[in-house]
């Protein structure tokens, strides 16, 4: 347990000096913000939004291949690496033998997620990335278990983000 040492000096017992100092600080900020508005830190939130760096780790995106299908191969390395255990994947056999394995369920419990980015670090095929979105409130009863539909094909992604790792190109290169 921490012990807080109170300021018990004589001067601190006087009421007015403390109040006036505080008011002074408030007045200083008021005047500063009144006369130089562009340096003001406060945002008018819903209209104005703060821009984070492009490296910001926000909501997850499942990338897609050229044909628009999921890049994910359901290797479950992200789920293994996830410290919050929020990823659950069910793999299945794909009809196309060159794809072989793909996820039929990919779900992220976004309320459990700690946005550490370990999933994108673990992914061997650049299938999961963390995007810039972070404002994803939900009204009462909203679903915070994001499935494939939400992670890969939500409207903001405009048809999906293409993965940089392409199997066909790798095949051609003889890897």
């Amino acid at each position: 347990m921490s012990v807080v040492q109170k300021n018990t000096s004589e001067a601190s017992k006087w009421y007015l000096p403390g109040i006036l100092t505080g008011l002074g600080i408030t007045a200083k900020h008021l005047l500063k913000n009144l006369f130089s508005k562009n340096q003001m830190l406060t945002l008018n939130y819903p209209e104005e939004k703060f821009e984070y760096s492009p490296r910001f780790k926000g909501n997850h995106v499942l990338t897609v291949k050229k044909d628009g299908s999921l890049r994910c191969t359901a290797c479950m390395l992200c789920a293994t690496n996830c410290p919050a255990e929020c990823i659950s994947i069910v793999a299945s056999e794909h009809e196309d033998p060159s794809v072989e394995k793909y996820p039929i369920k990919y779900e992220i419990d976004i309320l459990r997620c700690v946005f550490c980015g370990f999933c994108e670090e673990a992914c061997p095929v650049n299938a999961i990335r963390m995007g810039p979105e972070w404002q994803t409130p939900g009204v009462n009863g909203a679903n915070f278990h994001y499935g494939i539909e939400q992670l890969a094909y939500r409207p903001q992604l405009k048809g999906g983000i293409m993965s940089v790792v392409d199997d066909e190109e790798r095949n051609k290169a003889g890897i």
């Binding site: 359901a74 095929v125 890897i175």
Partner: protein, 533 residues
């Protein structure tokens, strides 16, 4: 008996032993690599020597070149070493050659996590391959048969599976076709790999070339725990390892036991885990009343059914299948004989005409793991009843209440329907078994259905066809409320369940006489520690 020194450790081996066998260990230490591990792919203790992977290189003193351990016989005074830089270098290069055409498939390969290539790569890996050529592409996802899928790109041509079909199953389906880097495993003329032991090829495949259709893509192996138990598929009693996690059981693999199954097990036995999984089990007990089925806790149902059994007394009959442990039989039969004074204990044998069948390797016609054990206990209590006695008793009305310990593996009981029909003639039917059964749930009359624990959920002993008693330990709990047959037997005769005291290993039974007790330590320590209130 030549003596040799392996990595500085002196080992005495039998005449004609190869170096790798000497290193693998013998007797008690078999498989423990007492003198240090050696990398190997093609050598398997249960198969002949092929010497194709060239990874088990060892240095023999006085020999200018490295030799393969799997095909070099130990001679007197041989000094062997596999920790030198030359050996490591050889293994490293051997691995690099294996990986020339190996695809980077690990993310979608079921073997990942238990793969020989991954293991050796972590140990000797050459992290910068010097191969600039393109990889040779071969067939992927080849359907070899009803149980196995082949990926020839991943194959390192160790020929273990080919030798298995040649030497153990003696079906000769597999072979290596083409030459050089175009060689591939395949079946002749596209004939399927379809024998009763085909899944062993998946186990012995050191890479992910052969994968099991049943297990394919269902779990990554690092999510699975494993535990040893005894297969309850037939009376051979193979030693097996079950792989499970909290979602259930996923697969079964054989464990070496020289007396019982060697290194192998049959495909049928690999399916029995399914009957222990939650989706195939009764979760709650059910009682049939005039209003229909009523769900109850298993313990409560057994207690209630016990009142009926007790009132029937000597008119109660017990029907046992050979699928429970010796301890359970002992408990329930002693309860029946001593408490209910009923000697109406019947043995329900499935497929008695096939009981003596044997396919020459492992599979036996008696599909119960513990028929011998049951017969021993019946003999012990002097019970020699026939099924016809039960039929007669049911017809004449001398048997009013029938308690059935039903089968765990119902598919092996083709007479299930008939027996349910026959036994449901009794006034009260108390049916205990682990798996669901729609015929039982369609019964009318006084019926209790009580869920039992499966073979992976209890300790016990199975006595196999040869009279060998094998103890096994509980693996995990799938349905915690389910009862073992011993517990159900106690509840049925009105006894309470008690935790059987076991000798405590942490507290000495007797205090040594010279132990001094300090006065202030006699205080209750809890009060002492808590301080003043």
């Amino acid at each position: 008996m030549p003596k040799c020194t392996i990595n500085g450790k002196e080992i005495e081996v039998k005449e004609g032993t190869t170096i790798i066998e000497a290193m693998y260990g013998s007797g008690e230490q078999k498989g423990e690599w007492p003198a240090g591990k050696v990398a190997h792919y093609c050598w398997h203790p249960g198969l002949s020597v092929a010497g194709v992977c060239r990874l088990c290189m060892v240095q023999i003193e006085g020999n200018p070149r490295l030799q393969i351990a799997c095909n070099t016989v130990v001679t007197e005074g041989m000094k062997i070493n596999n920790t030198s830089d030359a050996v490591k270098d050889a293994a490293k290069w051997g691995l690099d050659f294996h990986l020339i055409n190996h695809p980077l498939d690990c993310p979608i390969c079921d073997q990942a996590g238990e793969c020989g290539l991954q293991d050796q790569y972590m140990e000797f890996g050459k992290y910068n391959p010097e191969m600039a050529e393109k990889k040779v592409k071969k067939h992927k996802v080849v359907d070899l048969g009803p149980t196995v899928v082949l990926d020839s790109e991943r194959c390192i041509l160790c020929s273990r599976c080919v030798r298995f079909t040649e030497e153990v199953s003696k079906t000769n389906e597999l072979g290596i076709f083409n030459r050089g880097d175009r060689s591939e495993i395949g079946t002749f003329d596209g004939k399927p790999l379809d024998n009763k032991y085909s899944m062993n090829t998946v186990d012995i495949c050191p890479v992910g070339a052969l994968t099991s259709k049943d297990f394919r893509f269902r779990q990554r192996v690092w999510y699975l725990k494993d535990s040893n138990t005894i297969c309850n598929g037939c009376s051979t009693g193979c030693n097996v390892k079950v792989y499970f996690n909290r979602e259930g059981f996923f697969r079964v693999k054989p464990v070496y036991n020289e007396q019982v199954n060697g290194y192998w097990m049959c495909d049928e036995g690999r399916d029995v885990y399914k009957f222990a999984n939650r989706e195939n089990r009764w979760l709650k007990a059910k009682k049939r009343t005039s209003a229909g089925w009523e769900e109850m806790q298993p313990g409560a149902a057994a207690k209630e059914a016990g009142m009926v059994a007790k009132s029937a007394g000597a008119n109660a009959a017990l029907v046992l299948t050979g699928q429970y442990t010796v301890e359970e039989y002992e408990a329930i039969i002693s309860n029946f004989v001593n408490e209910l004074k009923s000697k109406n204990v019947f043995h329900w044998m499935n497929m008695p005409e096939k009981a003596e069948d044997f396919d020459g390797l492992l599979l036996r016609g008696d599909k119960n793991p513990n028929t011998k054990g049951l017969l021993q206990i019946l003999q012990k209590y002097g019970i020699s009843t026939k099924w016809s006695d039960l039929t007669a008793g049911l017809a004449s009305g001398t048997i009013k209440t029938v308690v059935v310990a039903g089968p765990e593996i119902q598919v092996q009981f083709p007479d299930m329907k008939d027996k349910i029909k026959e036994l449901s003639k009794a006034q009260n039917l108390i049916w205990m078994q682990s798996g669901k059964n729609s015929d039982l749930e369609a019964l009318t009359g006084n019926v209790w259905l009580i869920p039992m624990k499966s073979y992976v959920e209890k300790d016990g002993t199975f006595v196999n066809y040869a009279g060998l008693a094998q103890k096994f330990k509980k693996v995990t709990t799938v349905i915690s409320e389910a009862l073992t047959l011993a517990e159900a037997g106690d509840l049925l005769v009105g006894k309470m369940l008690a935790i059987k005291p076991e000798p405590n290993v942490f507290v000495e039974a007797v205090r040594p006489p010279d132990r001094v007790v300090v006065e202030h330590r006699k205080k209750n320590e809890f009060v002492y520690r808590r301080g003043t209130l």
